[in-house]
Homo-oligomer: 435 residues x 3
């Protein structure tokens, strides 16, 4: 590790202020309030039956706030499990998310200009929060080993690439991914893993003394886990067609998560010494059901179908933490701090595959077709639709791996203030900490 300075005094303020000023200028040029015309509430919500009665523009607001809590409390506190990295976990989570939601609004909105403007509705704010999630998932993979400057650079690049992939998947391929198993969870996880691979630190092969939890840091992390678990039905249903589809998305996610808890606890006890439960599994694998049911959430898979998906996701995720994470670290040089591969990566792929199967079986409700009329000719056969789902999964993984690799190479440049090995997982390198 070369002896470049980790002092952030100039690098970080200059980058943060410059980014914010550029963002404000872009907002001045491109962003305006939603005036309720032009279907600005989001394409999914302005179907024929909504047009008859003018809808309150804040109908989605409670769901937006649930998603907001997942982003800022959920992701932020989930990562506080490390004994000496809580300030960075919840603090840098706030920094990255606050920037990402601004950047995401532009990167997503530029694909859907109305009269040359991005018109901000609650729907667009939810999508901006969604784009943020990809960055926070990738953050989990490199947690403790990166500087704030590196992370801001990752945010800019990842959001931009996410915007391209999302446009491709949703608009060109016309694939279904209401809860974003593919375009957020799998994408964010494999993007982060590719970055982690580029930033591989051989010296950390044997675990670092700070790369672990203490009793109360594990309790702080449970705040994140439980808020994510509770509000996941909002995440998966927020942009669903209002009415029956949205209720279906809530219901499927609620039961998938409940089933996932039972299987995650059972497998955690089964694989651990003396049948004891492991906090890492409980904090993470209990959420895999929310990830995995995402793509199918608004499809007519039956509550029991959702439960099967959640049940399997809980098993896969727990086994991944126990057996796969050590292999990735030792054999492939991928040091995945939070185990995002187990929580977002594999369950995301499982969700994508479940989506392919469900679409091939015609489980998509007719509303979904209506929402993308321009490509309805693509839907003549469910086989073709299934192929589009497969293409969406492949696209998400491809963009993630290539984009993450390039991003990782840029982040590896030696002047971004990356912490030396011995200061990894330690707040005191970037924060004033009273010992």
């Amino acid at each position: 590790m070369p002896a470049y300075s980790t002092n952030m005094r100039l690098k970080f303020p200059i980058l943060a202020l410059t980014l914010e000023i550029i963002t404000i200028i872009l907002f001045a040029v491109f962003v305006d309030y939603d005036d309720g015309k032009h279907g600005g509430h989001g394409a999914h919500n302005t179907t024929h039956h909504d047009e008859k009665t003018e809808q309150d523009p804040l109908t989605l607001y409670p769901m937006f706030q649930d998603v907001h809590v997942m982003i800022f409390i959920g992701f932020g506190f989930l990562m506080t499990f490390l004994k000496r990295y809580g300030f960075s976990s919840v603090g840098l989570n706030l920094l990255l998310a606050a920037f990402a939601l601004q950047w995401g609004l532009i990167m997503q909105g530029l694909w859907h200009l109305e009269d040359g403007k991005i018109k901000v509705s609650i729907f667009k704010m939810i999508n901006a929060d969604f784009s943020t999630a990809t960055v926070l998932i990738s953050f989990g993979a490199v947690l403790g080993k990166t500087s704030p400057v590196q992370l801001l650079i990752m945010t800019i690049l990842e959001i931009t690439i996410f915007g391209i992939n999302e446009h491709l998947v949703a608009e060109i391929l016309g694939a279904n991914d209401v809860g974003a198993s593919m375009i957020i969870h799998a994408f964010g996880a494999y993007f982060g893993l590719a970055v982690a691979r580029m930033l591989y630190r051989p010296a950390l092969r044997n675990s670092h003394e700070n790369d672990g939890s203490v009793y109360h840091s594990d309790l702080f992390a449970m705040i994140g886990t439980v808020f994510l678990w509770m509000f996941w039905p909002s995440f998966n249903s927020a942009i669903a067609e209002s009415g029956t589809d949205q209720l279906m998305a809530v219901t499927n996610t609620y039961f998938s998560l409940a089933a996932c808890v039972l299987s995650a606890y059972a497998v955690s006890s089964l694989v651990e010494h003396k049948g004891k439960l492991d906090m890492v599994h409980i904090q993470n694998a209990t959420l895999a059901g929310g990830v995995a049911v995402g793509t199918c959430a608004d499809m007519d898979i039956g509550p029991f179908g959702a439960m099967i998906i959640g049940f399997v996701a809980g098993i896969i995720s727990t086994l991944g933490f126990k057996f796969l994470t050590p292999i990735l670290a030792s054999n492939l040089g991928i040091q995945d701090t939070c185990g995002v591969h187990n929580l977002h990566g594999m369950p995301g792929i499982l969700g994508g595959i479940a989506g392919i199967v469900a679409v091939s079986q015609n489980k998509v409700s007719c509303h979904n077709y209506l929402s993308t009329p321009a490509i309805s000719h693509l839907r003549h056969s469910s086989l073709r639709s299934a192929a589009m789902q497969g293409a969406a999964l492949a696209s998400s993984l491809g963009f993630a791996l290539v984009g993450g690799t390039i991003t990782g190479l840029i982040m590896k440049l030696p002047f971004w203030g990356q912490p030396p090995d011995q200061n990894c997982f330690d707040d005191s390198i970037y924060w004033e900490v009273i010992i």
Copy 2:
């Protein structure tokens, strides 16, 4: 204490996986999405004025999420006050609640099949969360002294018995209990106390070294307290008739809780050494106003009436913690870890009695009658209605005590991995804990 193994490696995974698989099969047979027909949104919500305009099936969703937060954050963190039992408190709370909501949906739904199916609406999900609350209350009475296997067994039995009593109280007796002072709070408390009596441990008569809090564990518990306190108006109004009744339930609960805080703080200072406040009282007795106003919440008792109920509840509950809990433990062999008798038991009975008085004074709004037209002939006299309220309270207490005793006897069987006395209140017996 016999030397049976507390190793959960086979017992727990087999039980958890088997229960979940059985549940999924039951869901495949009995559970379907709500399609908005047949009044599936819940009987209370489909009155004449709602039928004119088709209601968004997610109208109750924000209240559902408030209740969800109470169940998973509220109950979970409230119990983290113990210094070495935080993992179990919030972790087993998640496990039990995740199973209980699935089981509760079936146990409640089987009484109200539509075309042979339980049709899941937000209303039914709220009720499933409600049934969960009974188990979590009872969990508080036996906290620290039971294995995960014992607790899953308690969950199955308690939810089943709860379903029977709820059907009897709401459908057969036609009693009012919108905020469930009787059928959830009193029921859950006395069920748990009966179980605790059966599991009496003479060796713990003198307090256990881990049966207490440390500074930060008390702060974690306050997260639970405050979320319960804030969202209790949602709990008491979620299934009220929409419109004026629901607003009344919110208002009554809001003011009852506010008054309760003042009396709980005052009495805590009055009874404690040097007038100091006691965290146990603050964490619990401030919530008694929410419990006690439950039955009357949607009745026209006036905001000041609600405040009187809350004021009295705060006093009773604090005095209970100070004077009654030690007597129950030493004289009756009931070791009530969280003092659920003071938070849910006595305030629940107070709520039931307040309901009898209010009904006898004709404080019930006419909407409530309409919601149960089949039994409107029972309502000719307010005296008869008051008698039904009394019968509902008696039924809830009877089912709780008998059911809890039987459940306790089953849980006492020596092969469920119950912890030995010296390992009570200690996470490390069932969790990987880094010291």
Copy 3:
């Protein structure tokens, strides 16, 4: 410091019980449920277009609960940063807020009686929570140096004075202050600073050993910060005109806060030793954007305009913590424990000034005029409106400084159980604490 007793055993219970009993009597005389007539849902909400379709009285309920979370979790946990004062921070916050919302409902409601009654709607409950915020802001200025009895006295007086100023600003001057930059934030801050000045303790000029944080207390404080940050859009929009104005208030606050995070982090790093981030700045200055955009929140300032306000607020607030707070303490005798001058005081004034500018530029939407038809003649010129905004700011500061000074003098009386210097910032003087 005279040797008056800090024993609360009689003083506190008698005061608390007496206040609650008086409040219940006042409620019995003056307070009734909202019956949906008389525009009881709040003047802002009963405009012509709402009258056509009868509105659900719980439309504002989700926003009310967001505000509720800010008051009880947000303010409560934000103040837990002190290492030995967490019980008091979150516990006395609950006590004061529970009393303040009851007292505030009366003090605000007496100005708007309908048939001699205060009719409680969700709108009125939001306003009652708002009045509470002023007390909690002032509490931050004197945190650690006052007894529960002193704080209850402050609550009574501050809410009463707040009610007068709010009536003057909103009804007589007809000024806009939807997010209450002036009437809550600036008022609460300068009221608290005036009290702090009166209670000046020369012996604490050199910092007290307990006047600081430890690692986990800073993480508890972040729970407060993040919930305040997330739900601030609800605070600023809750009483806005429903529809486009309310969406505008949400949007402006969302982006102002996001921009504020970037500038607060940047400046924190810029002014700190070795470019490290300081938790005090992150916990507080990231919220200044919510304060400062309050007055303009529902005005057509453009999302980029909101971002500029937030950006500037983040800078001012962070610089205030670094440079101004020490000067206030050493030169002016104002010991501002939480730095409310930096979070609420200066950003509140900034918000008031931004409001004057925006109104002078005709940025107010026409809806706002309609909501106060009685004074529409005042609005002939935007210059006159701007003058009214200026008068509102001056009035808020004037009432705060005079009211705070008088209140501080009353609180200084020696028999309210004020802690001696050496016991400041220490829970154990008023709480049972196990060491």
